[in-house]
Symmetry: C2
Subunit: 145 residues, 2 copies
DNA sequence: ATTTCTGCAAAAGGTTTGCAAAGCG
DNA sequence: CGCTTTGCAAACCTTTTGCAGAAAT
């Protein structure tokens, strides 16, 4: 956790604690869409007494501070990722659950227009594509053959 | 529930039951994004002995038959809506939770290209916009003033 | 008649909360 | 030091499951 992270927490009126640094590090290192339990397991390696409820509370804190984003990828639990990472979207395989990230040049102008037309102020865009990944498609084909 | 609904269930190898008809009717009448409990409460009006687990099992059945779609709008529970309705997306107000549906002419060509580029077969597109609705934005502005 | 489906109650996730002790500013 | 945050255990809420009886084909 570097200075800019700490600054964001302070700006949100939150204290800097070792647990918060660990959780953020775990999410940063995790490389996208980790769930609470994965974050917990990773962070616990550095601090065995860390509790799962602290992880949940920290996730909320980081969300409030605008540092991470919550994903709803269709599974029963939530996933989290850093907010400053490059804007990207998610493809989820409905067969094996694999998540692939992809970029798509969303037109800023288009979004502004949409927001204006429907009269709301946008803060997040979630584009999720659902379908079959290459591997599962291959299996499906074989099955039908 | 009309003949075409029954046909879809039969095609999926499912039986026609009064509970399934009721649940589908509740979703159809509900006008988009109902959660399991709302569906339960609505359907229960017609059949007081209906159980919540039957609603959940029916939701799964209808999903398998391709008749309804599951939404992940950021709340802790899922929402469901008819699959045959016009393609649309959702705006969710992060303050009050209100959901507004909107249409957006997704380029079919673009989607095909995306699927090809990343090598997956698309079946669903979920575009969810998060932000502040007109009303909440007004309140926010007043608060800051 | 056979097989699927339902209702009930209990279990199983994931997430939140109350409280006393510990830690940050 | 005062107030926030943590760890633990228990509670909570949504969703799933086992089983015996009921309904559909």
């Amino acid at each position: 956790m570097d200075e800019s992270d700490k600054k964001m927490l302070r700006r949100a009126g939150k204290r800097i604690t070792s647990q918060r640094m660990l959780v953020l590090e775990a999410i940063r290192e995790g490389g996208g869409h980790l769930d609470a339990d994965e974050i917990y397991r990773r962070a616990k390696l550095q601090a065995p007494r860390l509790s799962l409820s602290t992880v949940y509370r920290t996730i909320n804190t980081l969300k409030e501070a605008g540092m991470i984003e919550e994903l709803h990828l269709g599974e029963e639990h939530h996933h989290y990722e850093l907010r400053d990472a490059k804007v990207h979207h998610h493809f989820v395989c409905q067969n094996c659950g694999r998540v692939v990230e992809f970029e798509w040049p969303f037109s800023e102008q288009l979004l502004r227009d949409l927001g204006e037309k429907y009269d709301f102020e946008l803060t997040e865009i979630h584009l999720d594509l659902v379908g079959y990944c290459a591997e599962c498609r291959r299996k499906k084909t074989n099955r039908n053959a």
